[in-house]
Amino acid sequence: MSEAWIEAAGAADIGRDDVIRFDHEGRTFALYRTADDHYHATDGFCTHAKVHLAGGFVMDHVIECPKHNGRFDFTTGQALGAPACVNLKTYPVKVEAGRIWLKVGPPAESA
């Protein structure tokens, strides 16, 4: 997989306190926008079960998996309690000219 920056979505495509799914080269990611317009990215699947986090619920810096309520801090990837026990991988994100760019090389932080 390329380690270059990849254009992922428009910054306005994500509502505040929300998450969207981004697929790239057979992998799936979750892109987040906080209430104060900071952007983050993690792997798209929950580490507990193969469920897309993009269907989940964002509260502050926490994403909650839509299937089993596993919770992660999406700014660090930290799992916040059962059934989420393994941390999420996070990825560098930047916003330029209203577009979100994602660097999907080595994870910024992993379990």
Binding site: K50, R71, L80, A82
Partner: protein
């Protein structure tokens, strides 16, 4: 839903071949081969914006409801103390028992999902307390219920199938007072306290969580031993009327509510519209049951807190089977179905979707 009695090992009439519901038997692998394990489930269409509104967490409703719940237990418990030794004591303890042994089920459930409160520690505190009250060890049951949501009523995968086919009617009657599940839970508590799990538990409890299982089992047993010692010292059952016994004598309403969730409905389908019931209840029952009567909606969107399930139901009902209008209507279906399943375990209720609903998936169609 929680299993009032677990599926594996139920005694069956000799003429009927029992289904193997165990998580370590051939049906577990078969479910995987049929695409029923860890599968994609049907979800009704709802806008992301509306779903976000409904998923919003609040502390207020659950703080109010929990204070009222504990307040009612203190009130009825005090009345029980004041009337102890007279025939009148039956009334306050009957109420205390239902609050302790039955309503703890829905509090356990909602706080397990961490949707009761917005504040995480409040969910976790209520979860530990309610787990003890409803006689379910908090760590094993968290993982059991997680699997139940992954593989709802999938044979060989779901550890919480309350009424395996053919139904064990004697076991069901015993379950009104936890006389089947209660002794089993204590056996497991002793097993866990010795640092061991059952083979089925080992399939869904991660290794990293297992020390917590053993620690909590020892804590539970220490509490029970403390109350037993207190009762012996007083030469009175009174302490055990508050802790221990109510998990049995107060469990009957848990069963009445809980059986409506899935009993008699389809197995091995990937559509909660076919294997869950939504039942309209009066406000008192909805308080005692914390809105778990909206069970199709809960399974489809488990991030929605109990206080928003009624609104979620309004959003989705055009795509749902007709809800049951009260417990009476639900049991008019459940009782004859279970009686028929004793002789014909293949029989189940086939839920009908309205004309406005989206069609069933191929897997669901095949199963019906």
């Amino acid at each position: 839903m929680p299993a009032f009695f677990r599926s594996a090992g139920a005694k069956m009439p000799s003429a009927i071949t029992p289904r193997d519901y165990s998580l370590t038997g051939p049906n577990s692998q078969l479910a995987g081969e049929r695409g029923l394990a860890d599968a994609q489930w049907y979800a009704c269409a709802i806008s992301r914006a509306r779903l976000k509104e409904l998923m919003q967490r609040r502390d207020g409703p659950a703080v109010r409801d929990t204070l009222l719940w504990f307040g009612l237990m203190i009130l009825t418990g005090t009345l029980g103390y004041l009337t102890w030794g007279t025939g009148w004591t039956i009334l306050p303890f009957a109420a205390y028992g239902v609050l302790y042994g039955s309503s703890s089920d829905s509090r356990w459930h909602e706080s397990l999902h961490r949707t009761a409160f917005k504040t995480v520690w409040m969910n976790d505190a209520l979860y530990e307390i309610a787990s003890f009250m409803v006689l379910r060890e908090s760590v094993p049951w968290r993982w059991s219920h997680t699997r139940h949501h992954t593989d709802t009523i999938i044979i060989g995968r779901d550890p919480e199938i309350a009424v395996p086919r053919p139904p064990d009617l004697v076991g069901l009657v015993l379950s009104f007072f936890s006389l089947k599940s209660g002794p089993r839970e204590f056996r497991r508590m002793f097993l866990h306290a010795r640092g061991r799990l059952t083979p089925a538990e080992a399939t869904y409890i991660p290794v990293s969580e297992q020390p917590k299982v053993y620690r909590n089992a020892r804590i539970y047993l220490a509490i029970y031993l403390g109350f037993i010692g207190w009762a012996v010292a007083l030469r009175s059952f009174l302490p055990l009327m508050y802790v221990g016994f109510p998990s049995f004598y107060g469990a009957w309403l848990l069963l009445i509510f809980g059986l409506t969730q899935h009993a008699g409905l389809a197995e091995d389908v990937l559509d909660h519209r076919l294997n869950c019931r939504t039942v309209y209840l009066n406000p008192v029952f909805r308080y005692l049951y914390w809105e778990m009567n909206y069970h199709v909606e809960h399974h489809m969107f488990p991030l929605v807190p109990y206080h928003a399930l009624g609104r979620l139901h309004q959003e989705l009902k055009a795509d749902m089977p007709k809800p049951y209008n009260g417990l009476w209507e639900a049991y008019r279906e459940i009782v004859p179905t279970l009686l028929r399943q004793v002789k014909d375990p293949t029989y189940h209720v086939k839920r009908e979707l309205p004309a406005t609903a989206r069609p069933l998936s191929p897997v669901a169609q095949a199963a019906t």
